[in-house]
Symmetry: C2
Subunit: 185 residues, 2 copies
DNA sequence: GTCTATATGTTGATAGAC
DNA sequence: GTCTATCAACATATAGAC
């Protein structure tokens, strides 16, 4: 018999998957009920509103990003961390081609909602940018903010193009480009 | 008294504006009716469905992009065309910060709809990429496709970041970066 | 061609039995 | 805590008078 928190986790998991694949507005609570196996009416026991649910999805995504960065920081050299970051991104390229970046596409969609949860979504981008900027700072670069912006905009732009062109090679080439750029830095 | 085509144009204009500012799914036909001044029931005389309307919005955006490129091609040198492209983008930075890129954000949203109109949206990205790639080819570069991808992903990624961070300086710095990169190319 | 009134379906959210 | 039944609001789309 599943514990309460199991159901909550399953709901967040299903919602996160569907928000990525189908979008926030296009996903109904009924869809989440079906995918998670939790009956429709029971969802509102765990999450008062749909916005509360997406807020929890964003929160879990934030934690995933933070533990990802902690994992990368086990590598001693910032350059190796950034290289590994690209390798990890390569591993999810097919999902990105099919559904777009799980962070970027959700941010863009929620930004149009003009609700507090939009800022929470934007926070995910900020976390990414801050960490990457920190790597360039640790490398002793004089303009770490600029290099961080360049790195993150290249990644998010590549994801958007790969999704639009439906071509994983776009991501491969983006990664090759960033790797050689980093090497010559 | 407005001609029929005037109403149609006004509808496409209002729909395009609202799809950009609020998003496709978040914009109801009633919203478009109010913004355009065309009564709700009359919209369906011009556009059978909401999808037909967004298809026309995409078509008008396509024509706008094509005439933009025709304008840029009046400049004899490809590098000057690309520089002017950046200058034009700078002129719309505040809208991008507020609402995201009118092409990129709509593409990402419609891509999740899995309808024929999604491919039409993706076509806008393809047109942009093709033209930019052509400029690098004209410059005699050996890898124009790669340079085109780099250019366009940088632009779309910068737009996404500027929207998330709500900071026009992100765009300014992206433009400076691309300009100096182009100069040294 | 124009516009009011409305049909029809879906949504997020709730009530209340168990 | 769980789940069925349902509400009220809103969506797209249509019917039909003018």
């Amino acid at each position: 018999m599943p514990r309460t928190s199991d159901k909550k986790e399953k709901l967040v998991e299903s919602a996160g998957k569907l928000f990525h694949q189908v979008g926030f507005n296009q996903t109904s609570i009924a869809d989440i009920a079906e995918d998670s196996g939790v009956p429709l009416g029971n969802i509102h026991y765990y999450f008062k509103t749909k916005v509360d649910l997406v807020a929890e999805v964003l929160n879990s995504r934030k934690e995933a990003i933070e533990s990802w960065f902690e994992e990368l920081e086990k590598l001693p050299k910032p350059k190796d961390r950034l290289i590994k970051m690209l390798g990890d991104l390569e591993g999810m390229k097919h999902k990105v081609v099919k559904y777009g970046c799980p962070v970027g596409s959700l941010c863009q969609e929620l930004d149009k909602e003009r609700m507090p949860v939009s800022r929470q979504a934007d926070g995910l981008i900020k976390i990414q940018l801050k960490w990457v900027t920190g790597q360039f700072r640790e490398l002793g670069k004089q303009n770490p903010e600029d290099l961080g912006l360049q790195w993150m905009s290249s990644i998010h732009g590549t994801a958007l193009l790969a999704n639009a062109l439906k071509d994983p090679k776009v991501i491969d080439r983006g990664i090759v480009r960033l790797k050689s750029w980093l090497k010559e830095l």
